[in-house]
Amino acid sequence: MYPEIRPLIESLVARKKYVYLCTNAILLKERLDQFTPSKYLTFSIHMDGLREDHDEAVCRDGVFDQAVEGIRAALGRGFRVTTNTTLFDNASPLRMRQFFDEMMDLGVEGMMLSPGYSYAKAPDQEHFLRRARTHQLFSEMLANPKKGWKFNQSPLFLRFLMGKHDYDCTPWGNPTFNIFGWQRPCYLLQEGYASTFAELMETTPWEQYGRRSGNEKCRDCMVHCGFEATAVDHTFGSLRAFGETAVVTLTGKL
């Protein structure tokens, strides 16, 4: 665990910044004392499905149960908790629906979904989701969503994953900053670093990224870090899209 996590979170919360602290929750239960519940702090727990699916996805048996324990402990102490889930080709719509039920029964505030990153030259091709398969999976998984399911993300992004919108990537939409600097061009493609955000924005050849650029690394990507930003921009960029978002939010029908 990052040794400075406590002062980092405290400083951000003191500035009234909303923090989604992503974690696999393996150490969450025993480290909860280091944190103070706040409306600005949410634990975003990495959960890739039901027990068997999650443990396989993270290459370690028992992690699902540890994460569930961590979620219960955090909720019990008044923390805000959400989940984040990455889906690959072996995801079953039916099992994912059971997973949504289980997470909502646990009491999490919302769930976030994304297909995993797909790259035409990646070695593990059989498990990557391609666009058509992504549309099929999300359409089946999110058909007639239960009223109790709460998704902590843009409804238009979910509809994009279901094939109801055609978006391109906004690679700077969720910038990644780490000890090396500002990662370019995005969270998924690691093609170097800029020392400042301004340098990232001004010196990255953005026209070389995104599906329509023809970059083969971007061809099949539908990951939330680039496309959710596009969906949000669309939501607030047109009355029609804003109306669509409002209808989906009010009716719960994706």
Binding site: C59, F180, G181, G192, Y193, P205
Partner: protein
């Protein structure tokens, strides 16, 4: 790639070796043009500028430091590759092997001799 000492020349260029070092998940030894060596983690390279350079942290964790391509003679892959054997595929294969060994032990079947042909 762990332990590899590239031979720069035809067909492998220094630029290609630097790209490989950038992707490598472990420390490398940067051999400078003057013959001195630096052990560190190469986390960035930029060849789109007029004077291409790499950035690295040294083995004590100090940095980042920058070094121009023209100052580099070679990069040796001397550190442990922390990504090796940690892929999802490797884990599934390991788990399947353990499962079949457990099942075999439970059934009393002897472990197959790999030298037996």
């Amino acid at each position: 790639m762990e332990g590899w000492v590239p031979k720069i020349g035809e067909p492998l260029t220094l630029t290609e070796v630097i790209d490989l070092a950038f992707d490598y998940r472990g420390n490398t030894t940067i051999v400078k043009a003057d013959g001195t060596e630096i052990v560190g983690y190469v986390f960035d390279r930029n060849r789109l500028v007029s004077e291409p350079f790499i950035q690295y942290f040294d083995e004590k964790g100090d940095g980042p430091f920058a070094l121009r391509y023209t100052e580099i003679a070679n990069i040796k892959f001397t550190g442990k590759d922390t990504a090796a054997g940690n892929s999802w595929k490797a884990w599934v294969e390991r788990r399947e092997r353990e499962k079949s060994e457990t099942a075999r032990a439970a059934s009393g079947e002897p472990r197959p001799d790999p030298d037996c042909r």
